[in-house]
Symmetry: C2
Subunit: 258 residues, 2 copies
């Protein structure tokens, strides 16, 4: 089982959209994939059509894991969404876990332990991360083998990478094998000079960690979220579907080489 966090400190860069559609493309290629929504704003959960707060969420299982009498049980929190994806949903209450985890002993490894205890059998686990540093992000990174960083080719997202590296180094002190599998450009338009300059700067610093697949801007991706579906179920003929299909192929081939 390979565990991947979709993360990055900049807000609105396409983490949730990438988590959903990369997972769906990997499932379409014949793999079993579990999604985990580790963001208290629960965007992934909402974008997969789950509107009502469920009884068992990542929040309820963190609470069990932190309490002395019980254990977290992620298997019982798994939901099958409208488009057939397997998901452990988030809850807006997850923000309160941040406060509880802060004052706990060994709080960085709670999610890692709960995933290791899971009985369900998946090829990949994909975790959608919140945009800010903190215990929820640290737990997701410590539980992961790889990090995929979606990025927009603009000045502020470029600058946010160095802040993210702090979170990466901190997580690596708890999980030495954690590695960045790469950066993927979202809403990329090569006609814009700034886009080309930012791409060149990232390639300069990170070399071949920059995926050659670029995700173009495509309104169908937002519409699919409104419909509670992944892009392949919503509009398989769209640019969004072909770009995320290509991303999954590149992702799977890079995983084999790691």
């Amino acid at each position: 089982m390979i565990i991947v966090s979709i993360a990055g400190q900049k807000g609105g860069t396409g983490k949730t959209t990438t988590a959903t559609n990369l997972a769906a493309a990997i499932v379409n290629d014949g793999n079993k994939v579990l999604l985990i929504d580790a963001d208290p704003q629960a965007s992934l959960t909402l974008s997969l059509g789950i509107q009502q707060e469920r009884e068992r969420t990542l929040y309820s299982e963190y609470l069990r894991e932190v309490s002395i009498e019980e254990d977290g049980d992620l298997d019982r929190a798994i939901v099958i969404t409208k488009s057939g994806l397997h998901l452990i949903p988030s809850s807006t209450a997850l923000a309160q876990t941040e406060q509880k985890l802060m004052c706990e002993y060994e709080s960085e490894t709670k999610l890692q332990r709960m995933i290791h205890k899971m009985k369900s059998n998946y090829d990949f686990v994909i975790i959608d991360c919140p945009p800010s540093p903190g215990m929820l992000l640290t737990n997701a990174l410590v539980a992961s083998d790889y990090i995929l960083i979606p990025l927009q080719a603009e000045y502020l997202p470029l600058k946010s990478i160095s802040g993210f590296m702090h979170c990466f180094e901190e997580a690596k002190s708890f999980n030495g094998s954690l590695d960045i599998i790469g950066f993927v450009f979202i809403k990329y338009d090569r006609r814009i000079v700034m886009s080309r300059n930012v791409l060149a700067e990232i390639e300069n610093i990170f070399g071949d960690k920059v995926f050659s697949t670029r995700i173009r801007s495509n309104i169908q991706l937002s519409r699919a979220q409104e419909a509670g579906l992944d892009i392949f179920k919503y509009d398989p003929t769209s640019h969004g579907a072909s770009d995320y299909g290509e991303l999954a192929m590149e992702f799977l081939s890079r995983i084999k080489k790691m």
Copy 2:
């Protein structure tokens, strides 16, 4: 002195871009404005051309305020940026304040107290907030008179409002007079059906709290950030400059009526 937080739980909706350019437009109208960067990713600080970590930041003053021997002193952390704006810069270390504040007594009101102690005289203080719930966001809201919420007319930003309302209610329990001055649409394109539908839904729920000024998509706003300037110093003839000029006029007239 009127204190306004630019906030919202969804990432990448234009909080930092709005903080900079609304402040600059209000200064151009003859007011004295102080900007505070309360986000650990320090986007506002970077977008105003401050690349090196300074000695006195919001982080250093929170630490002084939390320690027993000293007091925070925001006046000494004020920096004048390339485009003449007054700013209390952030630091990536600010993320650590979150952990310290969590376990402190009366930690929700630290920023409010530091602002009250300030000797410098401003008409407005504008605070750029982080995208995630937590002590840094709570401190900014508790210190504020009003909240302005930038929003993109898409499904996930629309859905993120209910999560933000939790943070708002929590902050109101410490600061009863806190109020939402309104919602402003960013990168609004009335040719897109989803944009029009989301606008109609927000107007339905929040009525005249929706600003009639809409900020159009304009690459010059990102270029200005790369140059470390506000849009009026970078390209006063751009759409971005005229839209933010109009936003400031609507903002000031709404403040008078509150």
